[in-house]
């Protein structure tokens, strides 16, 4: 009996020792979290709006135009007004720096985005965007050309995208290797269906899904898509396979920060069917991008700004009067409130924040229909590029197929250096799998370490060396990043009621469209500016798209 019992304990202790060794090796292999900062949208200041009790203004000053919000909508409005020669514009921004979702950061390594990082090739309808890009030297030649030419350095360099699935990198967003014939067939059918919707026009002759979406057909048959979720629509159309559903959900997470079971089918299809922009010498799915993402555009706009920008400004009361609009704002840096009487006010901040300032008016109620999805982004500073193994090479956009995040983009991708060395990866996590308010609660309660650890854990699957080459992980928590296009928002009553408002107060945020997209924010900003210019008697031709 003795040898047997000996052997059993021997084997058990051996196995135990082996497990302990393995565990020790694992923990020893994980160095402490790299340093970094947690940045956040200024929710403390924002919450003062919700909680009320801000002191009334003692000082009153005057301005011709006040723009509330320094994101793409507000900056586009300022650009358009400035282009028409208007001075005396004041821009109030809640945060410390402008840009909104297009904010950026910069380190000794390179500039990197904190949010939106590309602009798709502008469509014919996105005329204002084309003119803006032309002014900034990105679009070369005639902005109204059927096939405009763009500065080659701004077009995304090859390779554009790859995805990581089942332990391998492959080109493109979705791979069909190893899929069943049925999945492949359904994928082809999905592509064909989206192509058909991209070319479709309503009975009024307009495109079914245009961007800016205002130019879309009002055919009730197509607007009906806004009453169901994207997921429900897919099932109704007989799409059941994983690749199609993954792609559809990815699209909603990518553009709206929400799950495809939350987004309306109109919004979901819009992602696939609205991009009809083309460029000379570029593929149709090409995009314009810069190291700091759309922050590059913000930078250029701020460089040529002829207006004053006040950061840390919280507008808490708006009152429309016959000859001016009176706004009151809390200036956090000066710890006092001021009032401004402006001939016109452009509201270019999230609409839900205006509900407080407009309490008691007819506008407040539809504004409460707006919900916002929170995001986390992390910028990982690496001492060298992630190591290349087999599979598709490092690309601009690197999508993780089996992860909560969307993956990462490489800030130095547009660099022309043969050996870029250090780089920054921007990791995008939409908090899409729970309700926006629950996710926001979690965001408030969670520290940098959690998100940094999560980013490293996700990236260590394709890049086992990631921890040893990561020098910093900076994290940004975006509480109200994107409007949630739930069924009924895009083509529902609330948005219409706000957009129908006429007067000295103008709405110029992407919320006016219900989709948080660059072209929408830009077009709304330009539209508000042109309305103001017209009211002031300027006879400049419009930079926006007009049919026919």
């Amino acid at each position: 009996m003795a040898p047997q019992s000996l052997a059993v304990t021997g084997r058990r202790s051996f196995l135990g020792a082996g497990a302990a060794l393995l565990a020790a090796a694992c923990t020893r292999g994980a160095p402490p979290l790299p340093p970094g900062e947690l940045l956040a949208t200024d929710y403390r200041l924002g919450h003062r709006l919700r909680d009320g009790g801000l002191p009334s203004a003692r000082e009153v000053r005057k301005a011709r135009v006040v723009i509330v919000g320094g994101g793409i909508g507000g900056l586009s409005a300022a650009w358009r007004l400035q282009r028409a020669g208007m001075a005396d514009i004041e821009l109030l921004e809640l945060e410390a720096s402008p840009g909104g979702n297009a904010r950026w950061g910069e380190s000794a390594v390179c500039a990197y985005p904190w949010g939106a990082h590309y602009v798709p090739l502008p469509t014919q309808e996105a005329r204002a965007t084309r003119w803006l890009l032309s002014d900034l030297g990105v679009l070369l030649g005639d902005p109204d050309a059927a096939e405009p030419r763009y500065e080659e350095r701004a077009l995304v360099h090859a390779p554009q995208e790859r995805h990581y699935r089942h332990g391998t990198w492959s080109e493109g967003l979705v791979g069909l290797e190893g899929r069943t014939q049925q999945e492949k067939d359904e994928w082809q059918r999905f592509q064909a269906r989206m192509q058909q919707l991209r070319n479709a026009r309503g009975r009024d002759g307009r495109r079914a899904f245009a961007i800016p979406l205002e130019h879309s057909t009002q055919d009730p048959e197509l607007l009906a898509l806004d009453r169901i979720t994207f997921e429900a629509w897919l099932r109704r159309e007989g799409f059941v396979s994983e690749p199609v559903h993954w792609m559809a959900n990815y699209a909603c997470r990518d553009d709206y920060g929400c799950d495809y079971r939350q987004a309306s089918a109109w919004a979901g299809v819009h992602y696939f069917a609205c991009r009809s922009g083309v460029a000379r010498h570029a593929e149709q799915d090409s995009v314009l991008t810069w190291p700091e993402g759309n922050g590059w555009l913000v930078r250029r706009l701020m460089e040529r700004a002829a207006f004053t920008m006040t950061p840390g400004a919280l507008v808490f009361r708006i009152e429309e009067r016959p000859r001016h609009v009176r706004i009151e704002a809390w200036l956090a840096r000066e710890q006092r409130s001021i009032a401004i009487e402006a001939e016109h006010v452009v509201w270019a901040a999230p609409f839900a924040f205006a509900a407080h300032a407009l309490a008691g008016t007819a506008l407040a109620e539809p504004m409460r229909a707006y919900q916002y999805t929170p995001w986390v982004t992390a910028n990982l500073t690496l001492s060298e590029l992630p190591h290349e193994r087999h599979g598709a090479p490092l690309s601009w956009d690197n999508v993780l197929h089996e992860a909560a995040s969307l993956g990462y983009i490489v800030a130095t991708h547009q660099s022309v250096a043969v050996q870029p060395g250090a780089t920054v990866l921007t990791w995008y996590l939409p908090l899409a799998h729970e309700s926006p308010s629950a996710a926001r609660q979690r965001l408030l309660a969670t520290g940098r370490e959690h998100w940094a650890g999560m980013a490293l854990a996700e990236l260590s699957r394709p890049h086992p060396e990631i921890r040893s080459i990561t020098r910093r992980v900076d994290v940004m928590a975006h509480g109200h990043a994107m409007v949630l296009p739930h069924p009924g928002l895009v083509w529902g009553a609330a948005r219409q009621r706000i957009n129908a408002h006429r007067g000295r107060l103008h709405f110029a945020h992407a919320d006016a469209s219900g989709l948080s997209l660059f072209e929408e924010a830009n077009d709304r900003g330009v539209a508000a500016a042109e309305t103001i210019l017209a009211a002031m008697g300027s006879r400049q031709p419009s930079l926006r798209y007009e049919r026919g």
Partner: protein, 523 residues
Amino acid sequence: MTEHSVDPAAAPPAHPPVQRSEVLTRALLASVFVIAACGLVYELIAAAASTYLLGDSITQFSVVIGVYLASMGVGSYLSQYVTRGIVVKFIDVELMIAVLGGFSAALMFLSFAYAGPGFRVLLYLLVVLVGVLVGLEIPLVMRILKERLGFKDLVAQVLSFDYLGALGVSIAFPLLLAPRLGLIRTAFLFGLMNALVAAWAVWLFRDRLARPLAIASRCAVVTLALGAGFIYSEELTRLSEDRLYTDQIVHAESSKAQRIVVTRWREDLRLYLNGNLQFSSLDEYRYHEAMVHPLLASMPHARRALVLGGGDGLALREILKYPQIESVTLVDLDPAMTRLFTEAPPLRKLNAGALSSPRVKVVNADAFVWLEQSRDAFDFVAIDFPDPSNHALGKLYTTSFYSMLKRRLSARGAAVIQSTSPLYARRSFWCVVTTLEEAGFEATPYHALVPSFGEWGFIIASQAPYEPPASYPMPLKFVAPEMHPALFAFPRDMARVPTEVNRLNSPALVRYFESEWRRSPSQ
């Protein structure tokens, strides 16, 4: 994966357990763990080395593992013919495995370098021999152990230690052994472990062996040989590399940017970067004369020159033959290259000390980034970049790069660009021409035969139509006015083909180059 045939004979009655026997049992089980680990390592090394040397990982791994497993089966079968002196046979088998397995990686690399096609024969011979021996060892251990354990325990314990050893190594090999030690050293390390198991067995069974001293000395010889191999594995690597480069290596270093190897065979000095031949001193004058003179001799007004790439200083040597050139800026990414070609006497002699000339300024920078930040204007630019074999290098051949180049040229300035082979990479060559034209240049392609490279192509990019010079102001070995018709004419097999333009966002050139050099016979 380690399937061993089990001796079907029922276990004889167990001896009463004594202290010594327990120690022996444990020791033998521990050695099962070690020899299982060793057995798997040799298999992984053979598969990894053949993949490394021959490519096609799926085939190499599959075939090597299959042959190895089959050989183990043969070994297990043969174990029935070992009837007497099992312990001695076991020790001998261990020593043979130690030698064959321990030297396997070194033998494979050397045979690849020296034996050429014989490599595959040796590879499978090694796989079969090691497989047979490894197949033998476990049945022998079981038969030694069966005197101590019941049949049920015997099978359970031997096999579980066997599998655990395999597990340990299969995890350690890709994570630790292959990347840290390398294949050659890993093989020696595990060979040593086999030898130590043999030595340990000699010690354990010292009173049952007929001639323990003779066996022990065999162990010592094997251990010493393997230890020497382990210590001198760097030299063995060098030996196989020497042979791969055919000539004697006179300089080898790994800079941050690349592996630089210089070889010499009699009068022939050769430079390799990452294994690719950059020049042979026997015919490099053809390449560099052809690159520099047709353009520069036509530009008597040229004063300021720029060389991008070309850290070897050989293009520089040709440029400095023109007394009217007042200054040359050389921009090369790798300081190790420019240092080597400034300091090493034979290389310095080759470029006539060009890098130390008072007219030359050396800058170590990324050429595209440098060009973008530069504000100088140049009359003559020679571009000698590596071939566009990847996306990063492909950026140096784009419309963006050439537009930038154009901005750095003086009013009458022009550039010449090495543009790979119009014969082996015909579409790549003409793609560079098309791209230069798209960027607004007058492109004048020409070619020269450089024996060590083959037919090689250059393109003159000028802002006005180019006229070849009527004469050359100094004696040259290769380029002469009467060569011009041959230089500028393209025979049918190299004639222009329509191509796309190479752009940052659609790198047509990288695709052409990849497909053309893949099917090309040379390089």
